[in-house]
């Protein structure tokens, strides 16, 4: 898949495209020498031992690895949810590892979209309100954002289910809502942590195909953590996390 180039600007619905551009290296997301340890009893568990990763604008990258290999930790560090013990993290050319927690939180809402294994939809909000919540969190929920939320649901095939509560949606439908939500603020990158983990094979395939399609449509980079080799192969680049370092499978 040839990744499209990420740009700033506005889409046909008038919603401002993410202000995050591309770093001087040409990557929207770059990690260099990331290290992360956790205390485990009286020992220290070294989960990441110098991870180097660069994701170009619009590129799709899969990360595989055994359970406990640190895939989710890597995503949390890339998302700025967890601090690395050492190494550098760059978001669209900005040194994210030097930002304060509040600065990270503020930038994360616009720079990143996240998709989780367990969907994490807000049960009191219907599908379109869940998608729009991403815009509310960054302080923008006007008419243009409402139209974009409705359009995203249409893109993921849930136009007819826009006003249904999560409890009335199937697992696959919930994950599609989560994908639409992740795209709401036109992020530069989507980090997806085993998004098909709770779905059956067929539904999982549908969600991955959809995720790749909408990322291509929206010119958004994707880092997909998955156990599924078939899903990993659908990405432009495949990586393997083993012994705390990134390598080729």
């Amino acid at each position: 898949m040839q990744p499209p180039e990420a740009k700033s600007g506005s889409d046909s619905l008038g919603v401002e495209r993410s202000a995050f551009g591309v770093g001087r290296s040409g990557s929207v997301l770059r990690a260099a020498g990331l290290r992360k340890t956790y205390p485990s009893g009286d020992r220290t568990l070294e989960v990441l031992r110098g991870v180097d990763l660069s994701v170009a604008a619009g590129e799709t990258v899969s990360v595989r690895g055994e359970s406990g290999s640190g895939k989710s930790t890597l995503l949390n560090v890339l998302a700025g949810l967890d601090r690395p013990d050492a190494g550098e993290l760059t978001w669209a050319g900005e040194a994210a590892h030097r930002l304060s927690l509040s600065e990270l939180t503020e930038r994360r809402g616009r720079f990143l979209g996240m998709v989780f294994q367990s969907y994490y939809l807000i049960p009191e909000l219907n599908a379109v309100a869940n998608v729009l919540m991403a815009a509310r969190l960054v302080g923008a929920a006007g008419a243009a954002e409402r139209a974009r939320a409705a359009n995203l649901l249409k893109q993921v095939g849930l136009a007819e289910r826009a006003h249904h509560l999560p409890a009335h949606l199937s697992g696959g439908e919930r994950q599609r809502v989560a994908v639409a939500r992740a795209l709401m603020n036109k992020p530069a990158v989507i980090l997806a942590d085993e998004p098909t983990g709770n779905l059956d094979e067929r539904t999982g395939d549908e969600v991955i195909n959809l995720l790749l399609q909408v990322c291509a449509d929206e010119r958004t980079a994707l880092v997909l953590v998955t156990h599924n080799p078939a899903h990993a192969r659908k990405c432009g680049r495949q990586l393997l996390l083993k012994n705390g370092v990134i390598g080729q499978p």
Partner: protein, 408 residues
Amino acid sequence: MPWPVYLALKQLFPTGRVSFFTLISVLGVGLGVALMLVSSSVMGGFGHQIRQMIIDTQGEVQIRGRGPFAPDAAIEKAIASVPAVAAAAPYAQGVVMLEFERRPAFPTIQGFDLDRMRKVIPLERYLKAGSLDDVDDDSVILSSILANSIGARIGDKISVYSPLMLERFKRNEVLLPREVRVAGIFEIGHQQLDSSTVICSLRLMQDLYGLDHLVHGYNVRLKPGADPDAAAAALNAVLPPVAGALTWFEANADFQAVVAFERNMIFFLLTFIVIVAAFSITSSLLVTVVRKTREIGLLGAMGGRAAQVAACFCAQGLFIGTAGTAVGLALGATLLHYRDNIVGLVAGATMGRDVFVKFYQFSHLPAYTETKDVVVIIVFSIVASTLAGLIPAWRAARLKPVEALRSE
């Protein structure tokens, strides 16, 4: 609308319904507010009724002598010189023993210059039978419960014994009571006054107590809008040393203090209902924080700041407090509107209405709602409910998104 407010509203009032937690929390605050409103209004009603009764039976200002004194021209002139005074009437008072058909009673007796009294005390308003025009120096007006207790009716002759007669009795003189006619029966609506008060002419009272032409004081009616404190001060500035002026409040300061104390204590105790309701809100919101830990983590992961997450839970406390206060005010107003029906039902179901009236000394439950009290209730309940959201808000704000998302 800021997202913390939006999400707080959505969590309390999910699409098309009110959550059970919201319902219970709002009802808790509402009940507390309703009880505070009803109790403060009823106590205010008693206070207001007593105030009106005191003014109706004493005037706004009372002039009291250091002892019996002569209502001479100097005093009359001094009273008339104060512009705020509309009318004044001299009085003398004491305690007597009544007897009618071997039924005795020991009421307070008040003697008035009846012609002047009409301009100060609206006794006609309280007359149930008879007429003030029929009252002379050989007749009295009895309070209703007193008349019932001795079985006296209009026109009956009753015997009056005064302390002066006891003095004669000690000197082995023949003890002859004063025979007086019942010329009227009045009812003020206050059990204590209605059960033991006799009103008569000033001349009769002076005879019974051997006061000659002396009086114990004056009841003073002020012009509409006049300030009792200022009027009493003005009177004290011109009155001779034998007498001093007191406002109705000062003249009944002990009683007023008791009423105010009871009212404040009841109000204070009932605030605990709202505090308990606030604690239940805290408890429920804490459970919500635990239940929604991963959602809170998600909000952080999507760009929600810790302060905004905290604001979301504080807003829930605020909305519960506001809704509960509104429900409580409506419920309280309804209870106050139907208070006599409710009291009637309770009295009928327990001790019977007559026994109830005799025991609690009122037949109609008064209510007087002061704006100040309503403002205090509203502010207190909303602030308490909002503060109730602080601990859960603090817990939620402390959650790190990455740990919250990992939680099971």
